[in-house]
């Protein structure tokens, strides 16, 4: 229906940027950064355009592009977006754009850094806009390479070395993808056996009837694969160490969007194609999610390193997403999707602020600080916005996510949801204590030389802060879209439950 392949352009522009950067001389810092900033800006504008141009009345997959690729496997280069993928696409580009500015002060091996970063952004974007299972998996594998290189080349060593962190991140990603691949192959073979045609088209695969036992086994494989990526308890160990070791931009992208591929995949692939399997496995996911929410929130209370706090806190918040998905109803899945968006912008803002502070002070230990609000009021505002969003304050998009998930999940899992809601108390406790320790209290003369945010350093704060408030004040802007997508999905799998009545 569209003449211009918007999605392909959005996908290719960062790759083109990376190619240009590779061709530039390594000394041309300004040109390299400018290229990175421009290409991510183009993608961001295109994704906003997609958000606005998407025909909500019509619904379904739009901006569809299909080019046959591997006939024998039924693989097509197929792109398309609906109400679930558009928020993810937007999230990717909001964070991608901000991460360039959060890395503005990188001085060493600038060329390699930005080229890898752009490849990473394109890879993540690809997973969200494709409707072909094979392409999805391909992009998922593509992101592993830049992640590993960026962490070991540009990371930092604190509790664990950056090499350990990079290795851990990568191996977890690969283990997750191995299980995923096994699940995908089984699905492909079974689907071909049922329908007689090879296909990797997600929508087509979802129309077939698989046996329940098959669904359970394959769903379990996928739940493990995607769950690991989403740092589902007890497979979360990569997350805090990985973020701590990674450079700022990688932490932003990884916590902000990359791990959301796990949640997105669970909804888009596992749930849609294997609903009967989901019905059996979901309660297990819901119980494990409690491990995320409560256990990880508790651990945050004992942490001193800012990146560990946000790392564990992101493990904790993913628990809400998991509960939302596991409750298997329209409201809860709506909540899970908007929560992924909300957590993404919030975590990215947090990591951007931490990165900025670390760059200037060379420490991330909250006990080294105190009273930073005296010297750095703007940075303080950034930290407070991220922190308050994280504790689910109304007016911020994260509240919308939590509230919706709670309402949706409460109908399905009474006790689990009650325990999950207790997380709001612990989250508030660790967030306010850590930020209070660091930002408020008497002025610490030692940090008088620190400069507050200025110039391009403000970009992540403005862009991500705007997204947080927009989503919080005007939730219908995103939520109507998401409802659109989730409703189609649930109608397709025939499990429409509204709320859950007593």
């Amino acid at each position: 229906m569209n003449e211009i392949p918007v999605l392909t352009i959005a996908l290719l522009v960062p790759l083109l940027g990376a190619a240009i950067i590779m061709g530039l001389p390594a000394t041309q810092d300004k040109w390299i950064k400018g290229t990175a900033a421009t290409s991510t800006l183009v993608s961001l504008i295109l994704s906003i355009a997609v958000l606005l141009a998407y025909d909500r009345a019509a619904g379904g997959m739009q901006f569809v592009e299909t080019i046959p690729w591997i006939k024998d496997l039924g693989v097509n280069y197929a792109l398309g977006v609906d109400g679930i993928s558009i928020p993810m696409l937007l999230l990717t580009n909001l964070i991608g754009f901000s991460s360039i500015y959060a890395s503005w002060n990188i001085a060493d091996r600038v060329k390699e850094f930005f080229a890898l970063l752009l490849i990473l952004i394109a890879g993540v974007m690809g997973t969200f806009i494709t409707t072909d299972l094979f392409i999805f998996f391909l992009f998922y594998e593509v992101v592993v390479i830049p992640i590993y290189l960026l962490v070991i080349m540009f990371g930092s060593t604190k509790r664990v070395s950056k090499e350990y962190a990079g290795m851990k991140l990568t191996i977890y990603l690969l283990i997750g993808s191995a299980f995923l691949l096994a699940g995908l192959i089984a699905l492909f073979i079974q689907a071909q056996a049922i329908s007689g045609v090879p296909s990797m088209d997600m929508a087509f695969l979802a129309t077939l009837e698989y046996s329940t036992s098959f669904q359970i086994i394959v769903f379990a494989f996928m739940a493990f694969g995607f769950g690991t990526l989403l740092s589902m308890f007890p497979f979360h160990a990569w997350s805090p160490d990985g973020y701590a070791g990674a450079p700022t931009a990688v932490s932003m992208i990884h916590a902000g969007v990359l791990k959301k591929i796990g949640g997105y995949g669970l909804i888009r692939i596992a749930l849609t194609i294997l609903p009967a399997g989901a019905a059996v496995i979901a309660p297990i996911i819901a119980v494990l999610a409690l491990g995320n929410i409560v256990y990880a929130a508790y651990i945050c209370l004992s942490q001193k390193d800012l990146k560990y706090i946000v790392g564990y806190s992101s493990v904790s918040h993913m628990g809400y997403v998991l509960v939302g998905i596991a409750a298997l109803n329209l409201i809860s899945i709506n909540g899970a999707v908007i929560m992924m968006f909300a957590h993404g912008v919030m975590a990215a803002l947090f990591f951007a602020m931490i990165g900025n502070l670390y760059e200037k002070s060379h420490t991330r230990n909250i006990e080294d600080f105190g009273g930073l609000a005296h010297q750095m009021p703007k940075l303080t505002a950034g930290f407070m916005i991220a922190g308050l969003a994280s504790l689910g304050l109304p007016g911020m998009v994260n509240f919308i996510g939590e509230f919706t998930i709670f309402v949706g999940a409460f109908g399905t899992y009474r006790v689990i949801t009650i325990l999950a809601i207790s997380g709001i108390v612990f989250t508030a406790l660790y967030v306010l204590r850590a930020l209070g320790r660091m930002l408020f209290g008497p002025r610490n003369e030692k940090w008088d030389h620190l400069q507050d945010l200025k110039g391009v350093e403000m970009v992540p704060l403005v862009v991500l802060g705007l997204a947080i408030f927009m989503g919080g004040f005007l939730p219908f802007t995103l939520m109507d879209l998401i409802t659109n997508g989730v409703r189609d999905l649930i109608a397709q799998i025939g499990m429409l439950q509204i709320g859950g009545l007593l």
């Binding site: 851990k168 191996i171 007890p234 979360h236 160990a237 160490d241 256990y295 508790y298 651990i299 945050c300 209370l301 004992s302 942490q303 109803n329 329209l330 409201i331 709506n334 009273g371 609000a373 005296h374 308050l388 304050l393 109304p394 007016g395 509240f399 919308i400 509230f403 919706t404 709670f406 309402v407 949706g408 409460f410 109908g411 949801t417 009650i418 809601i421 207790s422 709001i424 108390v425 612990f426 508030a428 406790l429 306010l432 204590r433 209070g436 930002l439 408020f440 209290g441 008497p442 002025r443 939730p475 219908f476 939520m479 409802t483 409703r487 509204i498 709320g499 859950g500 009545l501 007593l502």
Partner: protein, 626 residues
């Protein structure tokens, strides 16, 4: 005229919000402009509130208008942003906007020269917007949104002097304690959504009374009450309010005495149709309120910090209001909320005037004889204290009397006696404060103090007039017009009793007299009394050591557990991961020896592998045949 203004009532909350956004984003470099804009916006909100209140009050029994816009909606869940304009809302609008305006004007003088002058007004405007959004909310979802927002404004304003560790900690304590209450509140809201499929007050008011499954409704009502317990600082979630006095005094007056802390009482009134349908919940409310009233009054007697005395007094009075709600007297509770808002904000602003004049001194024993130098502050403060003590015909007399009457006539004799005892203690501790700080032999105050400028004293005088006069609206002299408008069909409105009026006035008088004998005439030595009951005195003065108990419990249960879990995560969860990686590496080393380059050994492995496969295939075929 009313047709035009009513749907635009959202401006009441929006104007202060706009002011706060403008100050936060752009205007904070110009302090005076920020303050001016903030005061202008709240003043406009007050002016818009007046015709709205008149429109609502115009009809006998009060009119109800409702407007709403879609905010968050999907099949099965709808949260609107709406306006519910009824007499209850109208009263709150007038109370909040008028007191907020006076407090902000007062702040011009009180906060003069503070480096955070502009952001102070930004927060004040944000608070006003949130509070007004709260009182106009037409559903529980919106209520919760603004409920949390006033909480965060309170956090910012308590911690306004963020350079002080004490302010920072008090702010965190306030927010966390409220979060504990909100945890229950949110659960209650979720239950309502699941059971009734709506959060709208008007829709729920139709559905709840018809719902008879008490086994469900009792926990729901009690969970909902957790919210008011946190917000209105009822025992055992009371500890944050006295600490909240770390904030600037005008903040204490507006937020932590007159308006925000009363939101809990307001919520009980707003959702009275739920609570009143559940007798068990009403008992809980009455007992919690009564206990808080008594408990806090005892502490107030032993405190030496002028703001802390007033803070415990606020706790005690909030308990009074809750007790009224719990015995079914919704009108009396709301009436006391209104009169209390005026005289307690007057007392706090008076205390602020004293503190300002005494260069931040807050210990009443380091004051003394302030009346010589600060006549306006002294007289307005005394008016406030008389109103609070319940001396006729000041406002507190009418409202307190109604609460005692309600407790008595509804057959809650225990609560009536408790209320009378608290009334006595209230009069006593207020005049202990007055005789010590404003009169007496001690002359520290006289030496240092001076009367403040008009920007501080004029709000005091206006509030003093209100403290004298607002009580008449529910007196026989004005035919109980307040009660005609603000009431609930499920509530009780007993006939006034002269005996109760006289006895409660005498009780208050006795309290004042005793304070006069001890602290003015010094016929009874308070030092001797204190020494005689030193154990009890220390227990009470240290607030029954409840903070210490909480701190200790928190260290063990929260931080101890947190450390333990971190250990578990590093050594067990991570240990397993690293262990697997280690084993993989080791087995790689071991298996490497099989790659020895000898063709014979490869052939042997191959044969072994084929053999195994053959066996497996045989088994498979065998089982397939069977």
């Amino acid at each position: 005229m009313y047709e035009f203004i009513l749907p635009n009532a959202w401006l009441i909350a929006f104007l202060p919000f706009l002011a706060s956004a403008l100050i936060g984003l752009f205007l904070h470099r110009w302090p005076n402009l920020s303050a001016g804009l903030s005061i202008f916006s709240i003043g406009m909100a007050f002016l818009i509130s007046i015709p709205i209140a008149l429109a609502v009050f115009a009809e006998p029994g009060g009119a109800v208008y409702e407007f709403s816009v879609r905010w968050l909606s999907m099949p099965g869940l709808t949260v609107d942003m709406g306006l519910l304009l009824d007499p209850l809302t109208a009263v709150m609008l007038i109370v909040v906007t008028s007191i907020a305006t006076l407090v902000q004007i007062y702040s011009l003088g009180y906060m003069e020269g503070d480096p955070g002058f502009a952001s102070y007004f930004g927060y004040q405007s944000l608070f006003a917007a949130s509070m007004l959004g709260l009182v106009m909310a037409n559903n529980f979802g919106q209520m919760f949104v603004f409920w949390e927002l006033v909480g965060i404004c309170s956090y910012f304003l308590i911690g306004f002097w963020f350079g002080l560790d004490s302010a920072k900690n008090a702010a965190i304590k306030a927010f966390i304690t409220n979060r504990v209450g909100d945890f229950g509140f949110l659960l209650g809201i979720l239950f309502l959504q699941i059971i009734f499929g709506t959060l709208s007050f008007t829709a729920l008011a139709d559905k709840v009374p018809a719902f008879t499954n008490m086994a469900v409704l009792v926990p729901v009502a009690i969970l909902l009450f957790f919210g008011p317990m946190g917000k209105s600082a009822q025992f055992p979630l009371h500890g944050w309010l006295p600490d909240a006095m770390e904030g600037p005094t005008p903040v204490s007056a507006l937020i932590h005495a007159a308006t925000m802390v009363a939101a809990g009482v307001y919520l009980v009134a707003r959702a009275f149709f739920i609570f009143a349908s559940v007798p068990q919940a009403m008992t809980v409310i009455a007992v919690v309120g009564g206990f808080t009233a008594l408990f806090a009054a005892t502490i107030a007697i032993t405190q030496n910090d002028i703001k802390r005395i007033l803070a415990y007094s606020t706790l005690s009075q909030l308990g009074y209001m809750m007790m009224a709600m719990g015995v079914g007297a919704m009108t009396a509770g709301m009436f006391h909320l209104m009169t209390h808002a005026f005289f307690k904000s007057l007392l706090f602003l008076g205390a602020g005037s004293v503190i300002h004049a005494m260069h931040e001194e807050q210990d009443i024993w380091k004051m003394g004889n302030l009346s010589r130098k600060m006549p306006i502050t002294t007289w307005t403060f005394i008016i406030g204290a008389l109103a609070l003590s319940g001396i006729p015909p000041l406002s507190g007399f009418w409202s307190k009397d109604e609460i005692l009457l309600a407790a008595y006539s509804s057959g809650h004799m225990g609560l009536y006696v408790l209320g009378a005892v608290v009334a006595f203690m209230t009069a006593f501790y207020m005049f202990r404060l007055i005789f010590t700080a404003f009169y007496g032999r001690n002359t520290h105050g006289e030496e240092k103090a001076h009367e403040n400028s008009a920007v501080i004293t004029v709000p005091l005088i206006l509030l003093a007039l209100a403290a004298i006069l607002v009580g008449f609206v529910n007196s026989p002299l004005m035919h109980h017009v307040f009660g005609e408008l603000v009431n609930s069909p499920l509530g009780i409105n007993p006939h006034p009793s002269l005996a109760i009026m006289i006895s409660s006035s005498l009780i208050a008088g006795a309290g004042i007299l005793l304070a006069w004998l001890i602290y003015q005439k010094e016929l009874i030595s308070h030092e001797a009394l204190r020494n005689k009951f030193s154990g009890l005195y220390r227990l009470v003065q240290n607030k029954y050591y409840i903070d210490e108990i909480y701190t200790r419990l928190g260290e063990v249960l929260v931080y101890g557990a947190a450390q333990a879990m971190f250990w578990f995560d590093i050594h067990v969860v991570n240990g397993i991961v690293d262990g697997i990686a280690f084993l993989t590496g080791k087995s790689g080393h071991t298996l490497r020896y099989t790659e020895d380059g000898q063709v014979q050994s490869y052939a042997m492995y191959m044969v072994a592998g084929v053999l195994i496969l053959v066996v497996l295939a045989a088994v498979a075929v065998e089982s397939a045949v069977l």
